[in-house]
């Protein structure tokens, strides 16, 4: 799965998050920061990650989420890692 494909999938998830302004989802890159750029509440991050598991058919460890950074790149890396170890 290509990284851009993962980003597109993430954008689909983010569109369902009530607290994120859809206008900010245009032009998301790996450098986009969920908290600084999209104003995602920290409580919502866990929901996004849980939805990510479902959408991409992967499973993350609790420890992976503890150490997760706030950039799109971090989530993409996590999905790639989970896909590889599946």
């Amino acid at each position: 799965m290509e990284r851009q494909e993962i980003i597109d999938g993430l954008v689909e998830i983010l569109k369902t998050v009530r607290t994120i302004n859809p206008e900010k989802l245009v032009g998301i890159t790996e450098d986009t920061d969920f908290i600084k750029d999209l104003n995602t509440p920290s409580t919502e991050m866990i929901n996004i990650v849980a939805k990510t598991e479902q959408k991409f058919g992967v499973e993350f460890d609790d420890d992976d989420i503890d150490d997760l950074g706030s950039k799109v790149r971090n989530v993409v890396d996590l999905i790639v890692k989970a896909k590889q170890s599946a």
Binding site: T43, I46, N47, V49, A50, I65, D66
Partner: protein
Amino acid sequence: MDSLAGLPPKDVLVLHGPTKLLVDKFLWHSPQVGIVASYTATERDVKDHFGIVRGVDQVESFTQATAGACNVFFECIKMGCSPLELVDKFLPRFIGIGQVNFHYYLEKGDTFVNIGHIKFNKFRQVVCDGRIYKTPKGLNLDEYFGNFNEERLLAYDLSPDFTLVAELQDITCRAIKKELFNKQAEQ
């Protein structure tokens, strides 16, 4: 440990000191569904607050009794350890409150029950919705909730002499590793 029912709250919420612990008893607990826990307001709870329990303390009591305690329970099960052993690794973090509506008040000596329904449990984060009810005077709560069940919890099916005090949504707690907490504090 199959459930929190009957365990002393001080042995579950071990980081909360006696003056900050606002749960007296876990009355009923179905790990994947929810929990019921009681607390009786003391002189300290109403002091300097015109004789009634502060809303913020009601939210705190509810959070300790539901999302906080259930989070401890889930981690203990996952890690095969006791709440006391968790203290070395994790700190409980109260990270979110959704909508809260208050309907009634609580005075010194009033006993209330926190009834929490688990909405989300993943990645050491637990989210609960629920209600607080003032209980009828003299009711034996152990007996009353002894045969409680999941359907009744989800429907808040209580006898009419319970008084609705508050409705709470999206009460969110997360257990975070101590090392991350220290890292955040340094930033």
